[in-house]
């Protein structure tokens, strides 16, 4: 209920601001809705959203898998941490734009380059978070697993992974928001479809209705995924924790 009210206040503010700023600078909600309708009717909206979502899914999965594996290794093996740490610091501080431009130069304006660039941007934060989680593992539970001779794979799944789960969830949460931001830049710079490309076109044509149409539908999709997928997953992972008051 409160959320709906908050949404209504947002729409009202937008509408009033549009009246003052003029329709060419800030089109009112009905104009943007019409633009969304037009793009949806032609099918372009769904194709572009779909393409962007596919890139997000691929890059996110790639970065999370690699990041978790490398982070776990660096948390467990001192040598791996020493070797990997300088690379990690380099990657952490490398601007997203540099990675994207270099990827397009070296690998061409291809899908592989785009997805790799997005994944590389997300990778280091995933590694750092999972590494912290690995360092915080409870040694006494490890001892328990060894004394009771629990097979290594089973111990990893039942003893180690649940301890890492909050860290992996945190990495996924912060990583997903990073990927949402970077995917549009990567599309703007080097792809010929996707939400980022369409926003670039709208920017060049100064078509603000279309720009807002794509931005808002994209935000709506992100919100829907957060509410429908990420939050229930987090709740499930932490169901054994006593509830906060």
């Amino acid at each position: 209920m409160l959320r709906l009210l908050s949404l209504a206040v947002f729409l009202a503010t937008w509408w009033i601001a549009a009246l003052f700023a003029g329709a060419e600078k800030l089109p009112p909600p009905p104009a943007v809705l019409a633009a969304i309708g037009a793009e949806a009717k032609s099918g372009a909206l769904f194709i572009n959203l779909g393409v962007t979502l596919a890139r997000v899914a691929l890059a996110f999965t790639l970065a999370m898998t690699l990041g978790t594996a490398i982070g776990y290794l660096m948390g467990r093996v001192r040598l791996a941490n020493r070797l990997g740490d300088p690379w990690l610091i380099l990657l952490l501080n490398l601007p997203a734009l540099v990675v994207i431009v270099l990827a397009y130069i070296w690998a061409g304006l291809t899908e592989v380059a785009a997805i790799a660039a997005i994944a590389i941007n997300k990778l280091p934060t995933a590694i750092v978070t999972v590494r912290e989680g690995t360092r915080a593992l409870d040694a006494s539970l490890d001892e328990m697993a060894r004394v009771f001779a629990i097979p290594p794979w089973k111990a990893f799944r039942q003893v180690i992974l649940p301890q890492l789960a909050p860290y992996i969830a945190a990495a996924a949460r912060s990583g997903l928001s990073l990927v949402w931001k970077i995917v549009l830049v990567a599309e703007l710079l080097g792809r010929s479809n996707g939400v980022g490309f369409e926003i670039g076109v709208a920017f060049q044509l100064f078509d603000i209705s279309r720009l807002l149409a794509y931005s808002l539908t994209f935000v709506a999709v992100v919100l829907a995924i957060e509410i429908a997928l990420v939050q229930p997953f987090e709740t499930r992972l932490s169901r054994w924790r006593p509830r906060a008051a």
Binding site: E143, F148, W240, P242
Partner: protein, 242 residues
């Protein structure tokens, strides 16, 4: 199974780089099905000794002889349960081969039936200790290790849990090692009591108790207690009568 322990030396290097001996010339043996009790002052190296016996610590000189495939059930000082698994899942994780009837019996003896689906975070310390006991017994161990299983419980609860342990140990006749600093627990549960010196730990005396656990009356317990106190005090006077 039979347990033979000959540890020549176990030392730790502390943060300042100094070496400290924890165990020196530590020899003891325990027959199959016997309950051995280590009684010693806190900090004397009992936990280190247990880590060596179960194979968690291999950095020592000497030898521990036990069958290499011996199944070990252990109750740690803290319950060490997985907080994200229910009571029953915790037990089954350690004992995947345990069948339902045996598990039900075990839960009944330890009065855990009402808590099978609870998470460890919802249990009191006494209950969590019982779950840890259930887990150790469920694996049907060849060697059972109990590291201060009754510490920090109130007296009446400790009494009940001690009786439950005695019942379980008698019903399986498993080689058992109990570590405690409570002389009473040692006398009521043990078949053979090892009195340990302060650090570096060695065995001051070995006292076998021949009367079965259930038949030990107050008079006999008092006599054994007097024996133990004599050894401990005798050592303080600088003698070693073993």
């Amino acid at each position: 199974m039979r347990l033979e322990v000959n540890i020549a030396r176990k030392a730790f290097t502390n943060a300042a780089g100094e070496r400290h001996d924890v165990l020196v010339d530590f020899n003891c043996s325990l027959g199959a099905g016997e309950v051995g009790v280590f009684v010693g002052p806190s900090g004397c190296g009992k936990s280190t000794l247990l880590k060596i016996l179960v194979g968690l610590d291999r950095d020592y000189t000497g030898r521990v002889a036990r069958p290499p495939d011996a199944r070990i059930g252990m109750v740690f000082q803290e319950p060490r349960l997985l907080p994200w698994r229910s009571v029953e899942e915790n037990v089954r994780l350690a004992a995947p081969q345990a069948d339902d009837t045996k598990l039900s019996l075990l839960f009944a003896v330890l009065e855990l039936n009402a808590h099978r689906n609870h998470f460890p975070g919802e249990l009191s310390l006494g209950l969590a200790r019982r779950v840890a006991l259930a887990r150790a017994f469920a694996v049907e161990p060849d060697l059972l290790i109990l590291d201060e299983p009754l510490a920090s419980l109130d007296d009446s609860l400790a009494d009940r849990l001690r009786d439950e342990i005695a019942t379980l140990v008698d019903s399986r006749s498993v080689t058992t090692l109990l570590v405690t600093h409570n002389v009473d627990d040692a006398i009521r549960l043990g078949d053979r009591i090892f009195l340990l010196s302060p650090r570096p730990a060695r065995i001051l005396a070995e006292l076998p108790i021949r009367t079965p656990r259930s038949a030990r009356g107050p008079a006999e317990i008092a006599a054994i207690r007097a024996d133990i106190e004599r050894v401990i005090n005798g050592d303080r006077a600088g003698e070693d009568d073993t």
